[in-house]
Amino acid sequence: MMPDAIVLHTPLSEHDVTSLTIGDRVLLNGVLYTARDAAHKRLVELLQSGGPLPFDLSGQVIYYVGPSPAPPGRPVGAAGPTTSYRMDAYAPMLIRHGLRGMIGKGARNDAVKEAMRQHKAVYFAAIGGAGALTARSILSAEVIAYPELGPEAVRRLEVKNFPVIVANDVHGGDLYEEGVRRYARTA
């Protein structure tokens, strides 16, 4: 049996994230912000030039997603995670500025992991490709920046019991490495 899920509300506190360890199932509630490659590039450029960001980063969680268009009567279409490594170049800077969590799929590089450890942030895995299921946890979506980027625009999502798994914790744990080590068989 899977252990019971931990329910958390955003913005996340330092205490919220230090109590998490890899493999924990978490249900996120509150607000998530979406950003992919193009939006990350712009956010980091803004930070470098000292300009204000379209949203306050502190304690927030960014979800790496480019949803499919919302059919009539729905806040979003399918909304599963995109592959996270493409955001590795930008993530440490956002973490240094208060970002507390990231949601995506796939492993992160050492620079991101080190930033997470130092500044107390976590990386959650959502199920890649389960876009229809994941969309069920999204109550509303509003484009708050870069509408010209289409699916890559920054959206503010209100979520209820959004299901994720802790993939990297603040203690240096990495589920991608440990999970694979546990199940690998040598020839």
Partner: protein, 279 residues
Amino acid sequence: MRSIHVDDIVRTVRDLAIRANTELGEDVLRAFEAALEREESPTGRDILKRLIENAQIARDEKIPMCQDTGFAVVFVDMGQDVHIEGGSLREAIEEGVRQGYRDGYLRKSICHPFTRQNTGDNTPAIIHIDLQPGDHFRLTMAPKGGGSENMSRVTMLTPAVGIQGVKDFVVQRVKESGPNPCPPTIVGVGIGGTFEQAALLAKKALLRPLGSPNPDPELQTLETDWLEAVNRLGIGPQGLGGRITSLAVHIQMMPCHIASLPVAVNIQCHAARHKEASL
């Protein structure tokens, strides 16, 4: 000589684009169920159950199973006795893609390589036409997501490496891909031909229904052996550890140049989408 009007092609391509993205094949669902029986990791089992649930929601609510509704790859198998009436075959396919991605609320994911400017309607489509004797006309729509396509590779091996060398390349490719292509995956392997033909063989290998044997018994033996090797890696569902990294390895092979051994690995994510129709 049989005539097919482009309007019928537009309509068919439109419907196939929507259906491929919302209705996961029964063969894939059966493979998920079988994987659930064999997966030992609790996280892996949890993920497989959610993938089954996800496919059901997508089908019932007619929304895409995955937000990356892919590059529209269209295979046209047609007889040389078919006459296309009322316009261009290629334009009809493009128009079908345009309408399908618009009407089905599918994501438009195609952009300029450098400026990254989105084309806005998910065109162009990738169209492979195979002309054979006869008057048949069959369309296959296989939307391909970026995450798993990015993990695919073509290589030109030295002939001396033989079967073991090809196997090593395939297993290594799956290993390096890790969690990125949304495991459990299907591994399409193209062996032989030329550089570009190997890639096409690998892609075509993905269209074979899961659970159906390779028509060539020798290749079937290799498929079984390589799948076992891949599933020893421990990558598991979503790369979070487990027994089921891949649901199948599918191989297509043809003769190659005496100096070459081309090999392509086309990784297919669990959103293994393709729908066919005959006109």
